[in-house]
């Protein structure tokens, strides 16, 4: 059986990656062997340290959760100095997620990553939890294209553009970033959601709204991967509510080349490797040898 997939020239040992913001190499490695992953995708990193939002930052909802972390991170310099050496010890691809409030901020981070061993970058133009930048780049095709164009000029690494589901027509955004040279697309980031505590009579999150993730969003994610697959030809990293190997298969049939496991890793810290095992079981049962076999078996209506 051959689980390998190639995305923008980078070959991953298998299609299972960790969704940005739900993985920390230090902590996750306490639960499983990181080398089992197809790729690590790290928490968003910005030019300077960001403090994130006040707490509560987490609200649980039916079949999911809402977060308003606000991209707390130590900034690219500390990241390169203190986190990268730890990440480089693993024998698995490294995709660094990049956050910014302006096009220039994205570019600064991206440039600083040129001289590192990162294999690929994932540009988050879809965070619903920061005031400037983030999601506003991801909801406007022109701005999404502009970020892509500038980042591509300044980066020597392949670039995945991470799209938001909070749009009317995700295919339009996908075409926009493809036309400016994005090497791939990852989606979905979180859906904007809110929960009110009827006992405390106030929004659960300090920030009121936050990003919805988990199995609750899977049908929206699968639909968007399906739509984007039919709109562009570049590779897709699909995510949103993947909890099992069969969920991963659903995304691959919809058109994803690789998948990311996010909220599942909060529900079960070893989820990424369990999902990989379940994917292998599914392939055995169906006599599939490669990822392509899964994709080819899909019969659209």
């Amino acid at each position: 059986m051959d689980l390998r997939v190639t995305i923008a020239g980078i070959t991953l040992n298998n299609p299972i990656t960790t969704a940005s913001g739900t993985f920390s190499a230090r902590e996750s490695s306490a639960f499983y062997n990181i080398n089992e992953l197809g790729a690590m995708i790290t928490k968003g990193v910005s030019t300077i340290p960001w403090p994130g939002n006040p707490t509560p930052r987490i609200a649980e909802v039916y079949g999911g959760m809402i977060n308003s972390i606000g991209l707390q991170n130590p900034g690219i310099d500390v990241f390169i100095k203190e986190e990268l050496p730890f990440l480089e010890q693993f024998d698995t691809a490294l995709i660094v997620n990049v956050a910014g409030r302006t096009v220039e901020e994205y570019c600064e981070v991206v440039e600083k990553l040129n001289d590192t061993k990162a294999d690929m970058l994932e540009i988050n133009i879809s965070c619903p939890n920061i005031k400037e930048g983030g999601i506003s780049f991801g909801t406007d095709p022109k701005m999404a294209a502009e970020v892509t164009k500038q980042v591509k000029t300044r980066s020597q690494k392949p670039i995945l553009m991470k799209l938001t589901p909070n749009v009317g027509d995700v295919a339009e955004i996908a075409r926009a970033v493809e036309s400016e040279g994005a090497d791939g697309i990852s989606l979905i980031n979180t859906l904007l959601g809110m929960r009110i505590d009827v006992h405390k009579k106030t929004p659960v999150l300090f920030n009121r709204m936050g990003g919805l993730s988990g199995p609750a969003v899977k049908p929206v994610a699968v639909r968007m991967v399906y739509q984007v697959r039919r709109a562009v030809t570049i590779p897709i990293v699909g995510m949103g509510g993947i909890m099992s190997g069969e969920d991963a298969v659903e995304f691959i049939m919809a058109g994803a080349d690789a998948v990311s496991v996010g909220t599942a890793a909060l529900v079960d810290p070893a989820a990424p490797v369990r999902i990989k095992k379940e994917l292998i079981e599914y392939m055995k049962k169906n006599n599939f040898k490669t990822m392509k076999d899964i994709r080819d078996s899909f019969q659209d209506r």
Binding site: T22, P56, G63
Partner: protein, 292 residues
């Protein structure tokens, strides 16, 4: 160190006070890593509730751990339904517990026990559902005292320690008897005044002139804040166990932060530390409270 999610067996699950349950879980693998103040994640069966529920370990023996929890919502209601013999999915212990040695060092450095002969007083301050972890802590301190008594040379300070537990409840105390076994004194305050002192633990500490040389505490944020202020004013060291809404509980999601400050060579470093991983126990003067 590898961590794990494992299936424990419910040994006992009984209501010890109004809506407060004591759950004993047989899980030898998880008991091994116990330090007072650490917690476990309880993973629920209800598939609409995905996130684990963090619950402090109250005490352990070689095989079992006791979790004492209040029934407040859907998750704890589910846990209250578990019967003897049922499986319960829990993580191995998480977080950093109380550091008894470190507090004693600070007490020595500060003002208490310069004279080895003078008895130092440790206050254990608990509020409501924050009381349970103090039991394991009191047991651990008592054990150290015993060991120090046996070994004449080392740990002089342990022999001269007195422990006073100051516990606040809304109306119904619990764990009082258990704590009496391990503490030299146990004082109770209730908000409604129906039992013990009428008022909160801070008032009780003032009233009884406890004058402890160091504190360990667990309870609601306002209590922790008031105690931290009290201790800062008196330059007494205090370790507090913080509570924050959690996502993962093991340090991956950055959901559960607490603003902290630390003196460094270059001045004061402000950080947003993870309660689940860097805590839940912090020194009171590390925590920045202004946001509350």
């Amino acid at each position: 160190m590898m961590k794990k999610i494992l299936n424990g067996r419910v040994v006992e699950n009984i209501e010890i006070a109004d809506k407060v349950y004591r759950l004993v879980v047989n899980a030898p693998e998880a008991v091994r890593d116990y330090v007072p103040g650490r917690f476990v994640n309880v993973y629920l069966k209800d598939k609409s509730l995905l996130l684990p529920r963090p619950v402090s370990i109250s005490e352990t023996n070689g095989e079992n751990m006791a979790l004492i929890y209040g029934v407040v919502g859907k998750g704890t209601s589910e846990i209250a339904q578990y019967d003897m013999g049922d499986r319960i999915r829990i993580s191995t212990p998480l977080g950093n517990g109380y550091q008894i040695g470190s507090l004693l060092q600070k007490m020595k450095r500060d003002h208490a026990m310069q004279d080895g002969a003078k008895a130092g007083v440790i206050g254990l301050v608990g509020g409501g559902i924050g009381v349970p972890p103090l039991l394991g802590l009191a047991k651990a301190i008592r054990k150290m005292q015993r060991e120090a008594a046996d070994d004449d040379k080392s740990n002089l300070e342990f022999r001269n320690l007195k422990t006073v537990a100051v516990l606040g409840f809304q109306r119904e105390p619990f764990l009082e008897e258990e704590l009496k076994e391990y503490c030299d004194e146990v004082l109770i305050a209730t908000d409604e005044g129906n039992f013990g002192f009428h008022g909160n633990v801070l008032d009780l500490i003032g009233q009884n002139q406890i004058h402890a040389d160091g504190y360990f505490a667990c309870g609601p944020k306002p209590m922790l804040k008031a105690l931290s202020t009290y201790c800062r004013e008196r330059q007494i060291p205090v370790q507090i166990s913080m509570e924050e809404r959690m996502g993962c509980g093991y340090g991956a999601c950055v959901g559960c932060v607490c603003k902290t400050q630390e003196k460094t060579d270059e001045g004061i470093a402000v950080a947003a530390k993870k309660v689940c991983k860097d805590g839940p126990v912090f020194y009171g003067d590390e925590v920045i409270w202004d946001e509350e």
